[in-house]
């Protein structure tokens, strides 16, 4: 009993500063985020992804090391900073995840359905190879300046379509991407919302995905970010690697040009 009493007394002491003003809430959240930077479990995905990239797999039993991510066959360093982009062999603008599926199909001989059957992992029993590969490849662009090209007509078209979709309001709640992401200094609950219509906002947001989400204990890619935004927008389900996903990625990645890429990150 004595131990309990002393614990209660201690609790009263510790709780004294608990009526926190808003300013200090933001400060403390900033401290929380800073404390997480040291030791990002995303590294576990990066390690697995690198092994997957180099491992001979699939019906053709070859590695992905000859996959062309836009900078030539097998070039990983800096590739993500120049994606999405137009690929002549596929005659399509592709983001990283779509390109990985392409390489798994054309090089390793997987069916397209097999290659993209598990885009977003869930726990130990359903680890996603695509998330791990994405973690590895994006980590190889850390510190590289975003430089998404807009030379090909289809790249320009994807950008314009992406912009259009950004402002598309629909669903039960009339939400668009722009509802939450077109003003400065706003937040939802305590989460700061980037203004994705400015270069600064797009840079800050885009260069910090993929991210290890502590709320889920999973590494999440930019495709997942879009997928889950639309879920919360009360839209139907965004199809992985779809035109809308790639167009929106193009819009945001291009807007982030000029900023050094800095992911995989760690986020709430």
């Amino acid at each position: 009993m004595k131990a309990v009493r002393s614990a209660v007394a201690l609790a009263a002491l510790a709780i004294a500063p608990s009526l926190l003003a808003q300013g200090s809430t933001a400060d403390e959240i900033a401290k929380y985020r800073a404390a997480l930077q040291d030791g990002n479990p995303a590294e576990l995905w990066e390690g697995r992804g690198e092994a997957l990239w180099k491992q001979q797999r699939g019906p053709k039993n070859v590695s992905l090391e000859r996959c062309d991510l836009g900078l030539g066959a097998g070039v990983v360093k800096g590739a993500y900073a120049q994606l999405p982009r137009y690929f002549a062999d596929a005659d399509r603008v592709m983001d990283l995840e779509t390109r990985l599926v392409w390489c798994m199909v054309t090089l390793q001989g997987y069916s397209e359905a097999d290659a993209k059957k598990n885009p977003f992992g869930n726990g130990n029993d359903r680890k996603s190879d695509l998330e791990a590969l994405t973690a590895y490849i994006t980590s190889e662009s850390r510190g590289v300046k975003m430089n998404v090209p807009m030379r090909h007509a289809k790249e320009a078209e994807a950008y314009r379509v992406g912009e259009k979709l950004f402002y598309f309001r629909g669903g039960t709640h009339d939400f668009a991407c722009a509802t939450c992401h077109s003003e400065e200094g706003k937040r939802i609950r305590l989460q700061d919302l980037p203004n994705l219509t400015t270069a600064e906002g797009a840079q800050k947001a885009y260069t910090t995905w993929p991210a290890y989400r502590v709320s889920q204990g999973e590494l999440r890619t930019f495709e997942w970010r879009l997928y889950d935004c639309f879920r919360q927008q009360r839209f139907p389900e965004l199809v992985f690697g779809s035109d809308a996903a790639i167009a929106l990625t193009m819009f945001l990645a291009r807007n982030a040009n000029g900023a050094p890429f800095d992911a995989p990150a760690i986020k709430r």
Binding site: L10, A11, I29, A35, R189, L190, R268
Partner: protein
């Protein structure tokens, strides 16, 4: 580590962790003997600080200003991952434990600290709700404690 040894280690089902380390040559036999490899189920099953203390075989812990939290925020954005750093400046510190008052089970972790290792550890714990977090230090056979109140906020959207 060569592949053969890795496979040997991986196939070590049924062995204790120390047996495993011994087999791998990572730990000396005398070390293995010194390390009684246990998991204190009774202590991890407790629901109050006094019960935890009983299970650990200790008495009423004394409050101590020589136990310091570092890199430990007052507000955690998400209770699934709360960084906790504890340094004990108490001489002859043998172990540092982290307890969370309002978790279903109080005891989160116990770190046994041999001589030569700094009496400071940093890890991450889950918190079911806003709660006091206790750092419990055993030093020279006696227990000392410090507390910190940590708030856990809600998430952003519908979850």
């Amino acid at each position: 580590m060569d592949e053969m040894r890795r496979r040997l280690i991986q196939s070590g089902g049924g062995m204790t962790l120390l047996g495993l380390l011994l087999a791998a040559g990572w730990i000396k036999p005398e070390e293995a003997q010194a390390q009684a490899q246990t998991w204190n189920k009774a202590a991890f099953d407790t629901h109050s600080l006094s019960d935890t203390m009983k299970a650990l075989g200790g008495g009423d812990p004394a409050q101590s200003k020589d136990i310091v939290f570092f890199q430990t925020p007052e507000i955690a954005e998400n209770g699934a991952v709360v960084p906790i750093g504890v340094t004990s400046n108490i001489p002859k510190t043998e172990s540092i434990a982290i307890l969370i008052e309002k978790n279903p089970n109080l005891l989160a972790a116990v770190f046994d600290i041999p001589t030569g290792t700094e009496t400071s550890i940093s890890t991450r714990v889950k918190m079911a709700q806003s709660s006091n977090v206790y750092a419990l230090v055993k030093a020279d056979g006696k227990y000392y404690v410090a507390a910190k109140d940590i708030k856990v906020t809600l998430g952003g959207c519908g979850g």
